[in-house]
């Protein structure tokens, strides 16, 4: 199959093709970055939301959960947790989160366990605010239904 192509041609395909791909990707990246503020309501990222994201990270929540479909597949999707568990009511969601986080780990034999992270009420509020903000990102209507 490669008999018709010389080594030089192959090399030119490699350099030319890669350069083309890099340029296309760089251009699209530039455009995407311009569009993020609107797609994600960047102006609504409060200090509390930012602290919540940090708590999400330093407790390695993504080690069990997915968020917008990415992470581990051991525990429920959380990008739409606010809609699923709070029914769109922010106060109800924050209250739910406090009692849920305090109840871990659940005393249910063989059920997958969530560790107790010993977060303060303020920290759970930050986490809730992060999840509320996340639920409003324009992610092309994903997931297909409320169960995530």
């Amino acid at each position: 199959m490669t008999d018709r192509i010389t080594k030089n041609t192959a090399r030119n395909i490699y350099f030319g093709g890669s350069l083309f791909a890099i340029l296309v990707f760089a251009g699209l990246t530039f455009d995407t970055v311009q569009k993020f503020p609107e797609l994600t309501n960047e102006d609504k990222i409060t200090h509390s939301v930012a602290r919540g994201k940090n708590l999400w990270e330093v407790n390695n929540c993504v080690g069990c959960h997915t968020i917008m479909g990415e992470g581990a597949y051991y525990a429920p999707e959380l990008a739409n947790a606010f809609d699923r568990l709070g029914g769109g009511n922010q106060d109800a969601f924050r209250t739910y989160m406090k009692s849920w986080m305090a109840a871990q780990p659940l005393d249910a034999p063989n059920r997958r366990k969530m560790p107790q992270f010993n977060l303060s009420d303020k920290e759970v509020d930050d986490l809730s605010n992060f999840l509320i903000w996340t639920s409003k990102i324009d992610d092309n209507e994903w997931p297909p239904n409320i169960e995530g």
């Binding site: 890669s18 992610d139 092309n140 169960e147």
Partner: protein
């Protein structure tokens, strides 16, 4: 062995195999936790076991790549390694830092680990696969830079071949894209977008260059095919890899808060992504057909062909299964993702490690024509147990993912089962997955045993 400095590859290979054993062991723990959530809780919670499982995988692949480079670059460059001493020092630095990081995961809660490593000064932790403390990440950069310096100096001072140039390009790319691991913006969508610059552009970009270079080296050695011919194939494969793989990053930008044009661009580019892997299969088999020497190390060629085939299945076929945006809408973040991930990583990166070790290790142990027949026979049993085990794991996870979609994703909101209820339904499939995982582990043990098969004394 032509150059004494090639010997530095040996500890790298051995340590990579040790880490692989640990990686599979933690995989088995995870597989068991999928069936019984109480297993090892709260001693080793799922997130910790998973972090160990995935981080060991990444570190062992880096060790294998380094070992491969240290072995093949002197031979390709026709000179000794620039600094064998530096190679040994970085081995120990990396090994100690790696072990310390894993112990950190296991011994203290993750939040404590973040605190004692001053994650607040330069936060980088808590993202999938990039869980390493910032200080470890800085360590990785230093180790990789000194490694690249060593390899690049050797390459530039010696004979330059297509294989070494491709390898060095891949290594530079690997270092460059890792820099995005240090960028952690407050905006989750932006964070995810650039996170893929490390993850995707490593796995489906620069790592494939390294894979192609290693595969080509082994093929030249065991088939004796003309280098000009190999070079042409290598160029075409990596051209396809980068042309499809770079823009193919777009298949990760469907549902994470990015503009909707990625739905089209990502789908189209990633539809091409199986092609370089298909080319790799044709490459390995046609090189075997055109071979000019009948090398006695037959098992090395088996690994080379196996890498190409399983990488094509795992990365190509299983990737394409759910890479188109309308399909991915349902499969995104399900067990189908896990199915694809397992076979792709095993086929492409674990098997290429076995391939180079299978070729190089006997030589470093003074067996220039490969291991004796009996050892190769044992290794072949290990090969098949691991390959079939991983195919079984993949099929089980594919069934699990499909079932998950049918129960949880496909029905309308009122009729769909919740995530946890769905998972409880799938447990029988997870039992099969664990069974095949055990088979894979057995395969590794058989493979490791092949190192201890005695050579017949009459050989010399």
């Amino acid at each position: 062995m032509k150059y004494t400095s090639q010997m530095v590859a040996k500890p790298y290979f051995i340590f990579a195999l040790v880490l692989l054993a640990g990686e599979i062991l933690f995989g088995l723990i995870l597989g068991f936790q999928y069936i019984n959530g109480d297993f090892l809780f709260p001693l080793i919670p799922f997130n910790v076991a998973r972090m160990v499982h995935t981080n060991l995988l990444i570190v062992l692949i880096l060790f294998a790549f380094m070992g491969a480079a240290y072995y093949l670059v002197p031979e390709e460059s026709e000179r000794e390694l620039w600094s064998p001493k530096l190679a040994i020092i970085t081995f120990w630095v990396f090994a100690v830092a790696g072990v310390a990081t894993i112990l950190g995961y296991l011994l203290v809660p993750y939040a404590t680990l973040a605190e004692i490593t001053y994650n607040n000064i330069l936060p980088t932790m808590g993202r999938e696969f990039l869980e390493q403390p910032t200080i470890t990440k800085i360590g990785i950069v230093i180790v990789v830079l000194s490694f690249i310096l060593n390899i690049a100096m050797t390459v530039f001072k010696g004979r330059r071949t297509v294989i070494t140039v491709v390898l060095v390009t891949g290594l530079f790319g690997m270092a460059f894209f890792f820099l995005f691991a240090f960028y952690l913006p407050e905006n989750l969508a932006v964070d995810k977008f650039f996170w893929w610059f490390v993850i995707h552009l490593w796995v489906e970009g620069v790592w494939e260059l390294i894979l192609g270079a290693i595969l080509s080296f082994v093929l030249i050695k065991v088939t004796g095919v003309d280098r000009e011919h190999i070079d042409k194939w290598l160029y075409l494969i990596i051209a396809m890899t980068l042309v499809s793989g770079i823009v193919g990053t777009g298949h990760h930008f469907f549902y994470i808060g990015t503009p909707d044009y990625w739905l089209w661009i990502g789908s189209i580019a990633s539809a091409v992504e199986p092609l370089p892997f298909f080319l790799m299969v044709m490459y390995a088999f046609s090189m075997e057909k055109q071979r000019r020497v009948d090398h006695e190390n037959k098992i090395a060629l088996t690994w080379a062909k196996g890498t190409a085939v399983i990488a094509f299945l795992g990365a190509g076929v299983w990737g394409f299964l759910h890479t188109l945006a309308p399909v991915n809408y349902y499969t995104h973040g399900t067990q189908l993702t896990a199915a694809h991930g397992h076979l792709a990583f095993f086929g492409a990166y674990i098997m290429i490690m076995f391939c180079i070790i299978s070729y190089a290790m006997p030589i470093m142990r003074g067996r220039l024509k490969g291991n004796c027949e009996k050892a190769q026979k044992v290794e072949r049993v290990g090969f098949w147990l691991m390959v079939l085990g991983m195919l079984g794991v993949t099929l089980a996870l594919t069934v699990a993912g499909t079932w998950q979609i049918i129960l949880q994703r496909w029905p309308d909101s009122g009729d769909a089962l919740s995530f946890m209820a769905t998972q409880a339904e799938i447990i029988p499939v997870y039992v099969f997955r664990l069974g095949f995982g055990l088979m894979t582990f057995t395969g590794l043990l058989v493979y490791l045993y092949s190192f201890f098969v005695k050579e017949p004394v009459t050989a010399k």
